[in-house]
Symmetry: D2
Subunit: 167 residues, 4 copies
């Protein structure tokens, strides 16, 4: 219960912080008009990558991202949930995600990561070389990656990082 979900595919990318956050590739949006990092340049962005059947996401990561979305709504922080399906594509469909979002009453913008040709790791997940879900990525006003974390984020530390990105 509560386990994080590791991407079992071969780890193609680097895991360190990249200079500039690559653009996200989203094929469908919930709770929002389409968003791009380019369009959000100048604002800090918290990217929360999750899967609706990942226990560690449902128990910790996703409620935490939703909480950040609500807590900082009077700032210019943009929280984005990203449904990065890298396994079980046939059951974690956008239609299923739609129900998940409603049942869990999520109000943050949520995008569906673009499926890769031939399945496996979706496009944005691969661009960021994510290790699995949940992953939290904090992007600064200038578009650089400030934090890239896999697994459970400490709540006090996350609050501090967001404030630092805002200030």
């Amino acid at each position: 219960m509560g386990a994080h979900c590791s991407r079992r595919a071969w780890h193609k990318g680097v895991d360190t912080i990249m200079q500039t956050a690559p653009e996200i590739a989203v094929t469908r949006w919930f709770n929002s008009e389409p968003l791009t990092l380019a369009g959000l340049r100048g604002r800090p962005v918290l990217l929360h990558a999750f899967q609706m059947l990942c226990p560690g996401c449902v128990a910790h990561g996703t409620p935490q991202a939703e909480k950040a979305h609500r807590m900082f709504q009077q700032t210019d922080l943009q929280v984005i949930g990203l449904h990065t399906v890298f396994e079980h594509h046939d059951v974690m469909t956008p239609a299923a995600l739609d129900i998940f979002i409603r049942e869990y009453r999520l109000t943050m913008p949520i995008g569906v990561d673009e499926a890769a040709e031939g399945g496996g790791m979706p496009v944005t997940m691969a661009r960021y070389a994510m290790r699995g879900t949940p992953t939290a990525i904090l992007i600064g006003r200038d578009g650089t990656i400030l934090h890239h974390g896999f697994g459970q984020e400490d709540e006090m530390a996350l609050g501090a990082r967001i404030a630092q990105a805002l200030g």
Copy 2:
């Protein structure tokens, strides 16, 4: 977050404890050969009705039923998970449930409640007049219903009820 899922359909049955537990109607089993209450007569049974996208089930009810399954495995208690889909049938399919069971590492026997003609409340759920998910039903050795609870079960009380049914 963590909300229970109420059946929104009209409440056809009675909500009080019925004399004898009606038979379960299951169309597919996971983690077990097919089970029937008739075949289990003489043993106490804990029936845990849930839906894989019901927040209160995922956070509380289902882990608790799995825990009871493991804790009392040296007794003759039979724990049965029952996937009682009464809404969003198109996304909470047996194939999706299969993944859910694996991701959450559930080992208790889990049956899919028989869909009703025309959708809505499935057959076993209707027979027991359940109000929603999660629901916990404890059945005695003689087949009578000892407890029928909707929502979060207190862990100490559940342990006591099971021991009482066993003793």
Copy 3:
């Protein structure tokens, strides 16, 4: 945070379950007239040994014993809290315990374990060869020890043990 408190003195007694529960030695009672195991013979007894400055007691054991006291109050289970001070006697006085009981709104009977001559492990704690606090001891209707556990008790298991002792 939340650590149990081990008795650091030499371990004089045996740690296995003794045939018959030795009598408790209490010098002062809170929330109750004086109680003795002899006088309670025929009823199951849950003995919860704690210290008011033991983190594992305050966070888990003591609230759990109080919960059992309230949950089973319509049965003939007798819950007894036992303040077994084996260190820092000068600050965990009965006067301090009195305030602790009020601040934490404890309503179960609580007895102060009789101090040993020369300090160290108090009398009842030594008779039961307890390893530290919190300790939970469940005594059957016939006065035999059914369970003797040091540290955090699982809530479902404790509920089951109490029901078994009652049934």
Copy 4:
């Protein structure tokens, strides 16, 4: 369980944020040389007022302040625990606090608020017009009060406030 402790005395002060943080009055220090706000001017300060027998402090506030002390130790934030005894002075003595600090393994600097003549609310608590314990007060680099909260602090919000004071 877990209740905050309200100061029952008459509420002499104002509850709003005062321009400048008044100096603290401490008669004994644990884990630190004596500290003063004057001496700390230029650094942000988190003041955590607590009582060792206040359930809401022991369960939430004090562990949270200790966590902040550890998390931000590479910054110039100064966390100070302040034992503000406003009731039960006879049992919450400095000797008892000493044991509490050791049992809960607290490493942040902790000062004993100066007792008022005639008992009741101690000096620093009165200067800040605190409503009870736990209270969290965040003081900026310039000595002004940035936040004054009574009760349970949200962890994400506290992290954000500290980062804001630091940045």
